[in-house]
Symmetry: C2
Subunit: 337 residues, 2 copies
DNA sequence: ATCCAGCATCGAACCGGTTCGATGGCGAAG
DNA sequence: CTTCGCCATCGAACCGGTTCGATGCTGGAT
């Protein structure tokens, strides 16, 4: 069941078997044939640990995800799936490491245990200790999202600020004068979660530029909070005629609140934002929104990571995607009060 | 950066360092202290591959998931999260392996490459070739879900048939006479997906037992399909007054269809089934439904797997959970036609 | 003073691959 | 017929840990 056994049965040395499998040195066709026969017969496959030890690489990537207690959003789920798929396309395995708490033994194991060839970090904060940790440990890594001062690091991200800006311009073009941003939870904002903060600044500056009255609220990532949040908006700022959101989990609640208030979208109220495509299309009516290209981001992250692993000294690369806003049917002209 | 370097700096042999770390043989307190100081100073951590090779175990579990193309349901997502968390609690890492296609190189790597100590398989079919593959390879594994003839294998599952039966009885008790099962997609049923088939048989036999008229439909796992499906039900079987479902993805569509048809739940129509708790509560009104205990199942699967790894010869264990039906507010007495 | 037990430590073998330098055999060239 | 070179293969070292048997040293009992 190991390479020595294969060698013995094929009547060759262990190194010959190794070369026959890797093709790194020529081996005669007859010998290769014999070795392959034995391997097929015994169903042999090299021991991954031994190979990793000898080669100095594990053919494994780590994907650091938020702990399960924090439910994944649709967008995050898209990242995980696409990273796994992209890695599989390169015959790489993916190790999942829950991180975000304080103990983070799993993260430490991965960083220092040479358990993986590289790391993909998602859900990062503007100031993220894990980024520093990986830099110091000189482990190749790519972040999905970027810290405030990325310096010389590799990352891919969606331009939340830019997208939100475009949403605001879109609403301004339609004549809206008072708009609200329904952000992610207050905890995430307080923690320094990039998309939430960049969305807020983008929203405010775009609104100012267009002379709109801008309101922002944080909303916990759940339907019930979405409902409560929307009702509060109606009470507190009755002149608001449009909302921009990046909070996917709140959408069902917002939908219900709209219904309860007897508001029809987009006739009475416009809704847009940055939302996973599937959710945007499940909404009623389908949301005019920027679809987060989760699949592309995941694939891109793997590509960058592999480039970095191949040449750790290469100058860092990054990608800031700004997907187009898909015009569906949730935005319309400001209702005449 | 390796154990030899630590040994040299601490002035001891490599084996002493190893014993100091593992505690498998006594080492004097003074020596342990010295070794720990050196380790702390250099930030040493044993190479995972080398350790795996020497110990013959990788301290890693594999979780076989459906390929990303098939979107994960909320329940499946719950499995992934809880398995990862439960594994982390035991200081184990989790390797994600997408499987379900035909080539499945990732799956083969894991099965034969001794890359992991055990495998957790989810989304299994009544006849699942992967189960046989793992059995033959004598890799410890636990399935979430069970094949038709589990024989001597380890598994955990939810008793879909039993739960659906209870839903039917619940509706019968409320006086409903014609009920429909909104199942998962026709492809899944055709592929032999356990929960879908067991739900159908449980539904039909319970309905027969109570003398109800039973209808069943398959519905693709998406909101649009849920809407279309529900409208078709209304047209085709106008006497249906209650639905039972296990299709989470269809729910938003069903909700919209109810609204479009001007039906109020539960006054005009009752809805129940087996649904992730979060989705049941996000529905309007909250669904009376059996919450799939995804977290408990995941934890249980890890526990069983560890027991099996510890003693591969142990007699297989399994668990068939039947969570209580949470009475919320989506079921009521049959409307008087 | 001698012997023995037991503790602390060491050295070597082993896990299962990869890789490098060396070697044997063969055909072609001189 | 010798020599050169190349192709195919071999043997040994190495990756970085773990583990087992052996050994030196110390102290207490006799």
């Amino acid at each position: 069941m190991n390479i020595g056994e294969i060698a013995r049965r094929a009547g060759v040395s262990r190194s010959t078997v190794s070369y026959a499998l890797s093709g790194k040195r020529p081996v005669s066709a007859a010998t290769v044939q014999r070795i392959n026969d034995v391997i097929a017969e015994l169903g042999y496959r090299p021991n991954a640990s031994a190979r990793a030890l000898a080669e100095g690489r594990t053919r494994t990537l780590a994907l650091v995800v938020p702990p399960a207690s924090r439910r994944l959003t649709d967008v995050q789920l898209g990242f995980v799936g696409s990273v796994v798929d992209a890695a599989a396309a390169h015959d790489l395995d993916v190790l999942l490491s829950p991180s975000g708490g304080d103990h983070d033994r799993s993260f430490e194991r991965i960083v220092t245990g040479r358990r993986v060839d590289g790391v993909i970090l998602m859900e990062i904060l503007l100031e993220d200790p894990r980024v520093d940790r990986l830099s110091r440990a000189s482990v190749p890594f790519v972040t999905i999202g970027h810290v405030e001062h990325p310096g010389a690091s590799w990352w891919v991200d969606v331009d939340y600020s830019g997208l939100i800006t475009r949403c605001v311009h879109h609403l301004a073009d339609l004549g809206h004068e008072e708009v609200v941003l329904i952000n992610r939870s207050a905890e995430l904002v307080a923690a320094g979660y990039g998309p939430a903060l960049r969305s807020a600044t983008g929203f405010l500056s775009a609104a100012e530029q267009r002379g709109l009255t801008a309101r922002t609220v944080c909303c916990a990532d759940e339907a019930a909070a979405g409902l409560a949040c929307f009702e509060q908006i109606r009470t507190q700022w009755p002149a608001v005629t449009a909302a921009v959101t990046i909070n996917e989990a709140a959408l069902p609640g917002v939908q219900r609140a709209l219904h309860k208030a007897g508001l029809e979208v987009p006739r009475d109220f416009s809704l847009t934002g940055v939302i996973a495509e599937r959710l945007a299309e499940d909404f009623h009516p389908p949301l005019t929104a920027a679809d987060v290209p989760a699949v592309e981001l995941g694939r891109l992250a793997v590509d960058l990571l592999l480039a970095q692993i191949a040449d750790p000294e290469a100058t860092p690369r990054n990608a800031l995607l700004e997907p187009p806003i898909s015009l569906r049917s949730s935005t319309g002209a400001r209702p005449r009060g």
